[in-house]
Symmetry: C3
Subunit: 338 residues, 3 copies
């Protein structure tokens, strides 16, 4: 499918600078783009590439006035991008037909809404609800008394244990586990006796959860993922953790038991957070940080153990000069203290 730059600009509500009649047949990254592609400049890192990209046109912010190639100037290039992707996306996802596949094993008292699609080899235990328009891919297991809202998508090989509540528009990617037992033991005479994990997991509306994620059920009460929060692949969420709304948790981060994260928090990749602490709203934790104490609202921290980011950057810079400093201190000591 081809569209003229003019047509694309109209869809995006943007302004063309350059030849609006050229035809675009695909969208691609600024480095990968070829002739006939439209690309975009959303990350200022890539600004130098604006004049070397092979793309035929570029979507830019209003800051860019013109370029060697035709541009479409828009308020929000990232948002414009999501629309352009939809225009040119030609490789469809697998379509799971509405209805219950003959091989699926459905328990007693299971309620399914309108236009639900339940695939091959799905197992749904007793007393579950699946809301309107939700899609359950093959090999998904859903334990008894779990409720899933409308328009949810549960990808293959996901395990959702009993008594969970999953909201509307929730996406859970392949091979993720919701509601496995929390990690809790009491030591008795040198062996570890299991503490029963009888609580639940609650995932609110509009949450997206990546692949191979583990979210444990609460010991009692609930483990909570707030509305609109997005969780990347291979993340660990321990029992009784609570994550506020619209937060971001990047790949391979781990949050220990009973910690509470606020709203709009950003936890970068491979971060570790100890148990029983609080992370305030809008806090940002840099990649690979280790958080051992509660953080106030709006804190921006980095490092293991973490410090405020500007302080940590000074520490990192000083570290590079540490071996040299050691020599200077030795010379000073020899001269002054001996």
């Amino acid at each position: 499918m081809k569209k003229s730059l003019h047509e694309i600009a109209t869809i995006l509500g943007g302004e063309v600078v350059g030849d609006a009649s050229i035809e675009i047949s695909n969208v691609n990254g600024i480095r990968e783009a070829q002739e006939g592609d439209i690309t975009f400049l959303a990350n200022s890192l890539y600004k130098p590439l604006i004049n070397t990209t092979k793309a035929s046109a570029i979507i830019t912010s209003k800051e860019i006035l013109s370029a060697h190639k035709p541009i479409i100037r828009v308020e929000n290039p990232s948002l414009a991008l999501t629309r352009v992707i939809s225009i040119f996306s030609v490789k469809p996802e697998s379509v799971i037909p509405v209805g219950v596949h003959a091989s699926a094993v459905i328990g007693k008292n299971v309620k399914t809404g309108e236009n639900v699609a339940i695939s091959a080899f799905v197992v749904i235990e007793d007393s579950c609800d699946i809301g309107d328009g939700s899609i359950i891919y093959p090999h998904v297991y859903i334990g008894n008394n779990t409720k899933i809202g409308s328009q949810a998508k549960i990808y293959p090989n996901v395990t959702i244990r009993e008594n969970a509540t999953i909201g509307c528009n929730v996406i859970i990617h392949a091979n993720t586990v919701i509601g496995s037992d929390g990690f809790g033991y009491v030591q008795i005479n040198g062996s570890h006796q299991k503490i029963p994990q009888t609580g639940v997991v609650v995932i609110e509306d509009d949450v997206e959860i990546g692949s191979n994620v583990s979210i444990d059920r609460a010991r009692f009460g609930r483990t909570l993922i707030g509305k609109g929060t997005k969780i990347d692949n291979l993340v660990q969420i321990a029992h009784n953790v609570s994550v506020g709304s619209h937060s971001i948790i990047v790949s391979q981060a781990g949050i220990s038991g009973s910690s509470a994260l606020g709203k709009n928090v950003i936890i970068a990749g491979q971060v570790g957070i100890v148990g029983h602490i609080e992370i305030g709203d809008n806090a940002i934790v840099g990649a690979q940080s280790g958080i051992t104490k509660s953080l106030p609202k709006g804190a921006i921290v980095l490092g293991s153990p973490a410090s405020p980011i500007s302080e940590q950057k000074r520490i990192f810079a000083a570290l590079r000069r540490l071996p040299e400093m050691l020599k200077v201190v030795k010379a000073l000591k020899d001269k002054v203290l001996k």
Copy 2:
């Protein structure tokens, strides 16, 4: 279900201080508890909450003499808690009926004990044994010649490869992989040739393994998880690793090939351990540590690279003062050495 505080204290063998006639209908955490709940104080972090919790009663250690609310004083509040949870747990796990589901695919010469439950879409290859009372949830795959003891629980979507030995009372949570090939190659003319991984995995009695864990089979010989050891979610255990009995390995830790951990070892979250080393009995490794050398019995270490914990804490404290120290050293150098 409701029970009086007196009834609960009798079950726990504890002593009530306050009104023993009040009725309790649930158990909950000290922060989450509401009127009618009983809570507990096991972590001294939460001591200030004893007078602000909304719970109607609190289980405490003998150290606490009284509180604003009725308390039950016991020897071990954590242990008492596990009993109280069992009293009030009302949301049952999915019940997998005894017997073999009609859809399961069972190989030749498979032996199953008394009261075994094998669910929908389970695949068990030839020559396996499943012990008395074990429960195999849906979508589990068990390779040929694998032996599972009695009273084991294998949750959905677990993969157990061939020739593994799984003990009695073992719990393996959803989507975990036991016995995938170890990561071993020989470089020949610039490409990596696979070293056959023909060994096995042995998991002894009373081990619990979290969700999304990877435990690789040995190159030859065996990868061993000792009796009573507990492994959290998303942990990596490489080929030929040996873990002693009653150890704890917390989420997202990784243990490289051929390393040997002793008994009662504690490996905290996100720790990395290189290959071919030994960690002595009772050693404790703090979160996010990197271990590159063997550790003696009883070592307590922290950091990457790790040092004894008291030393590492001094290093962490000194690090915060490093940028300031750099300035002082420069001033000294200017004055003394120039």
Copy 3:
């Protein structure tokens, strides 16, 4: 099965020093070996064990001239080992019979080559190709329009989403996910709107991927794993990442979106790499490092943030002396600056 040392040496093209007539019945590690076993010395760490191992014979490099036990001297002990393992391997893998299991659900226009084995409960969506001799284990899901080359092995509970291309001789271990959505959002009025992830994953020939790995599909274009690259368990490969040929990525490492790794790169365990950077050919990144900037060809780095390895080792050494240095600096300051 038994073989004389002479017979083994002939297969390996090595030279026996000592009694070539002794009979060997198994292969084992130098620490674990018993009488009747042959072992090997590939890692110089284990040199002291050459005289204490209980093995009846040892495969060594040409550097070793003789030992207390008979030895076979070879050019490459690791390579010799892979051959010896094949000789003595007696515990076979599960055999998946050629053909399509009656329970498998196969879509429209699916092409399967000669001698393909498709197991129980496999789901293959429309328009897929499975090449000659490939083995698909139970509970695997393959989305529409995915192509798999010849002689591939896809272990149980793997999820491969739509439009992926998997090469010949590729091995994907259990519970791994290929082609889940990349983690990309645009923030609009405080909530995160999903950016469609319409690209693909391309896995070239001879790649091996461990268990519980997540490799995300590209936003557009492709996520690429180059020929002969080996990926360990629990690794995260984000959208639009490109990994060159014959690289090694060790367990629990994570590579963020759009980063490009060269050929023959080695990424050790638990490394984190930020997005949008380049790692040159032959670069080596030490365990637990954090990489925030592009690395040139042949770079060898360590630490978080990473420095060249010799520099980082000096920093690590200096760190251990930091608390003491702090005291000296204080003493100097008191004497000189006050």
